[in-house]
Structure formats: structure tokens, C-alpha cells
């Protein structure tokens, strides 16, 4: 049985998290302290829901550790991955600032530690501190640019091109070899969601790229054998 939990705050981890968050790392000590005072530490087990699509947006979250998946159900009943969030990241903010319910569901892909700040506190802090408002605007700007890229990918690029782009974006260098480690939750279904397609199509795309010698799918990782070739496919 998995339950979310909150506990008394040791604020140093949040301080460290803010220091790693683009646009929030330059906030004055006064604003940082205001955030530290309001933040509630939360723990979610792997698989657990953090918030649901269509729930009232009552908190903004700062992801301190673990990966989180944000998905949205289309009106036709098809699940689309919106974001895969890695620490340190802020999420749940769009709904709070737009005054709407959460537009998607956030679930913990692995054990997650996060900080929740009540929506009304965030709004009050922004009203009091213009520098926080500016940090939020910059963050929202980044998010808009991300979604423009996602729309472009989904409408203009083939599944193979999206796959090549995603693999390159998530690759790490390991013993001189570019690899994409396959995490426990990184099933074909998850990857398909992320690419806005279905499992069968993704499987065919992986096989096609593998047949061209661009990559090799192994149990623990996907090996990127020809990054240049993949980059060319990503642009197609």
C-alpha cells in the first residue's frame, strides 16, 4: 500500500533545490525564506498519483528527487504524455496561475520527494515580491516554448524522427558509448505515450532504426550506435 506523506520540514534540501532551479536560483534571501516557510515536504511512492486531471489546483510542487510523469487524457480517451519531469523542477504551477483545475495527472514514476506550496500562499508571495513574479514569468515562458516544440513535433515529425530526437535528448555517455538507460518504468507503453503514439508503432520505429544500424535495443539500455545518423533522422 502506498501513501503520500508529509513531515516536519528540514528546509536545507529545499534551499539546495531552489539553488538548482533556473530562474529561482537568483531570488533574494528574503523571498527564498518566504518559500521555505510555506513549503510542505511530501513523499510519494513509485506509481502514486500526486494530483489528478480535473482536480482543483491547490498546490504548486517543487520536485526534489525522483521522476514524475504528467499526462493528459484527450477528449477522445487517449492518454498523451505532457512532460517527464526530472529534479529539480516546478510543476502544478500552470493551473494555479490560470485559476483552473489541474490540466493533467501527475504520477510518481519512482520514489519522489517534493515540496508542496499552497496555491493561495504562492499567489500572495507573488503579489508581495515582483522578483518572484518575474522568475515565474520566465519559467512559464520556458514551458510555452517547450509546448510549441511538442506541438511542432507531434504535427510535423514522424514517430521515427520524434523517437530519434527523444533518445538523443536523454542519452548519457557511458564507457565511451552513448546510451539511454532503461529505467524500471520505461516500458514501451510509457515511451509510446511520451512520443504521442501507440506501442505497436513505437516498436516498429525502434526496429526500423535498429535495422539501419542507428541503435541497438538491449535489456538494460538502448545503445545509440550512430548519433550523427540519429540526429539527421531527428531533423526529418
Amino acid at each position: 500500500m502506498a501513501h503520500s506523506s508529509s513531515s516536519t520540514a528540514n528546509t536545507q534540501p529545499l534551499k539546495d533545490a531552489l539553488a538548482q532551479t533556473l530562474h529561482f536560483n537568483a531570488l533574494s534571501l528574503e523571498v527564498q525564506n518566504a518559500i521555505l516557510t510555506a513549503a510542505i515536504p511530501k513523499h510519494f511512492a513509485a506509481g502514486q498519483v500526486i494530483y489528478l486531471e480535473g482536480e482543483p489546483a491547490d498546490h504548486v510542487y517543487i520536485l526534489a528527487s525522483g521522476w514524475v510523469k504528467a499526462t493528459r487524457m484527450t477528449p477522445e480517451g487517449r492518454e498523451q504524455a505532457l512532460l517527464i519531469l526530472r529534479p529539480v523542477e516546478i510543476f502544478g504551477d500552470i493551473a494555479v496561475f490560470s485559476g483552473t483545475p489541474y490540466p493533467g495527472t501527475a504520477t510518481a514514476l519512482e520514489e519522489v520527494h517534493a515540496w508542496a506550496i499552497p496555491a493561495e500562499t504562492v499567489i500572495a508571495l507573488i503579489n508581495q515580491h515582483p522578483e518572484l513574479a518575474m522568475a515565474v514569468i520566465r519559467k512559464m515562458g520556458d514551458r510555452v516554448l517547450y509546448y510549441i516544440g511538442l506541438v511542432e513535433d507531434l504535427s510535423l515529425r514522424s514517430v521515427e524522427a520524434r523517437l530519434a530526437k527523444t533518445l538523443l535528448a536523454n542519452a548519457t555517455l557511458h564507457d565511451g558509448q552513448l546510451i539511454v538507460p532503461r529505467r524500471g518504468w520505461s516500458t514501451f507503453d510509457e515511451m509510446a505515450d511520451r512520443l504521442g503514439t501507440v506501442r505497436d508503432v513505437l516498436s516498429r520505429a525502434l526496429k526500423a532504426l535498429e535495422a539501419e544500424g542507428l541503435l541497438r535495443v538491449e535489456k538494460q539500455a538502448i545503445l545509440l550506435l550512430n548519433p550523427k545518423g540519429l540526429a539527421e533522422r531527428a531533423g526529418s
Partner: protein, 97 residues
Amino acid sequence: MLPQQKTSDTELREKIITLFFTNSRQVFANLRVGVMHGIVHLAGYVDSLAKRAMAEEIVQKIHAVRGVVNRIEAPGAPSPARSIQLNLTDSRKIDDE
């Protein structure tokens, strides 16, 4: 574009929460509910698969509910984080009155 919904998502959510809260066995009072486009999202914890299924059944019977995304945790239940695709064959529910 979707037809105008007779029951708003907010009204639908309130109706479901009330139903769960007034359920005679009070086993659903702590479940979480979200509604978007007439699709109901459920989360929380119950102690059996039967109760998990019952919660979904209660929601499915409500007029204007187009589908249910059941992410309720229970012993033996699939992961709430799994990918879910709905078969929304009955979209007329939202525009037939």
C-alpha cells in the same frame, strides 16, 4: 469540437464526491476525484479490488460520465501510473438530452 455539456465538470465532480461521501459503507469518502471533459479520474486507496471496482461502477452509472480513469490503489491492483486508453463509445451521453 465537443458538444455543449449539460453537466459541467465541476458539477459532476461535486456530485461524485457527494455520492462517495454518503455511500452507506463510507469506504469511498477519502477517494480523490478529478473531472475533465466528462471523463472522471479516480485516485486514493481502498483495501480490496472489489471496492475499487465498486467505486468505478458508482461513477459509471452517473449520467454525463463519458469514461472513468481508475487509478485507485488496492492490493493486487495495477499501478496507478500505468498508461490508460479509454474506449469512449458512448459519447452521445453528453449531448442526447
